[in-house]
Amino acid sequence: MTLDLAQADGHIRRGRVVTLLGLAALAALYVMALQFTPPERFQGLAQKIFYIHPPAAYAMQLAFVMTGIASLIYLLLKDARFDRFAEASAEVGMVLAVIVVITGPIWGKPVWGAWWTWEPRLTFTVIEMLVFGGYFALRGAVRDPAERAKFAAVVGIMALVLVPFNHMTVYLFASQHPEPVVVQTGKPELPWVMLRSFITGFVVFTVLYMGMVMQRYGIGAKRDIREALDA
């Protein structure tokens, strides 16, 4: 038991280091974005949020897909570590989703003129949040750890299979409505200085994702140890 606890603490400690590295890199990214990348011609400073918003959206998707994969492995192997990982990844995904839906409207107001539009990717994020809201509600409602892990894994896999359908739904739904007019949806050429900052954002958020999952995994491990002691 003590060894397990030490292991869990180790995960949390290492996770904290990785997260701090990620945060430091994020700060550096913003120095780069504000100081060394020119402001965008039409959107001005509002565009700077793009060094957070799309990377967070990508990391959210990564997190939820990893939850689905870990859920599948859990059902096959019944190894509690995969359940813990699925839970950790889902929770971090939720945090990233919150970042996406907060930064989206902040950008949307000055550029699109409205806090909220049913823009496909934003809508997709909201649906994913609700799917995983259900995932956590279910986890909270089952007391037996093995049953909780099993049920959560079922939802995790179903949620993964739902992803392409959600994509189809939000894009087809959006095509029923007029496009926002301020921004052209064609593929604009991103100048290298902007692209450089943009790509860095994706790397930074991958690091943040890993750091947060490691910490959350450690917390989950501690919870499992406590539950095993209580039982």
């Binding site: 799917v131 409602a141 089952v142 049953e147 299979v161 189809m168 739904t169």
Partner: protein, 225 residues
């Protein structure tokens, strides 16, 4: 006993129980009618015509009343440890799923059968041959989400707050089929040519196939210890 016969035996058992009491089916039908009614009263009478609302109302009604129907799918089995009895039988778990799913589908469609003519009446839907198509859509739409709902309700019934959890888990999975079906309904009622419908029907069928297969594969994991 082969799997299909086992599935049929389970479905027949569930439907027989429902038919003998009839309380659940009547209550669920009343619920469906009330959903239609509350939309009528919640609407802005001055600006939104009944015809404009009709497709959405049909699918909101089907979605919400399915939740009520699915909520009770495994309640019967929970009482007196009935599920343990079924699980003890030498029956393929997937067959058990198919039986429960089919009974749920019939239950949902029975409720739709009651709600459908009233929907035509309340929302001034022009009687046309398109209405047969809409009935077909109700079947096509319900196949997929009752499959998802059967798996979820087998889980939620074993938790606290079952009747709260099922809708929260289910509704995100209903968004795609409800959207596809409502789009197809709009086109059917508007008398649009078949080419405009195919895409939506294909998506709906794809959803059905994918989730029916997935639910069949994953259900054994839910009920087995």
């Amino acid at each position: 006993m082969n799997a299909l016969r086992a599935a049929w035996a389970i479905a027949a058992k569930d439907l027989r129980i429902e038919w003998r009491s009839r309380t659940a089916i009547l209550t669920a039908s009343l619920f469906a009618i009330l959903v239609e009614l509350i939309i009528v009263f919640g609407r802005d009478a001055g600006t939104v015509s009944y015809a404009m609302l009709a497709p959405s109302v049909l699918w909101i009604t089907i979605a919400l009343s399915s939740l009520v129907a699915l909520n009770r799918a495994f309640l019967l089995e929970r009482e007196h440890g009935a599920l343990e009895g079924i699980l003890a039988a030498p029956v393929n778990r997937s067959a058990l799923f198919w039986g429960k799913w089919f009974a749920n589908l019939v239950f949902v469609l029975a409720v739709v059968t009651v709600a459908f003519p009233l929907w035509v009446l309340f929302f001034n839907v022009e009687p046309s041959t398109g209405l047969y198509g809409v009935m077909g859509l109700a079947v096509l739409g319900a196949i997929g989400f009752t499959a998802v709902g059967t798996v979820f309700s087998a889980m939620t019934v074993r938790t606290r707050h079952a009747e709260l959890l099922l809708p929260v888990l289910m509704l995100p999975f209903m968004l795609p089929p409800v959207f596809f079906a409502a789009q197809a309904t709009m086109r059917l009622l508007g008398g649009r040519p078949m080419e405009e419908l195919w895409g939506w029907l294909r998506l709906l069928a794809l959803f059905d196939v994918v989730f029916l297969v997935l639910a069949t594969l994953i259900f054994p994991a839910v009920v087995d210890e």
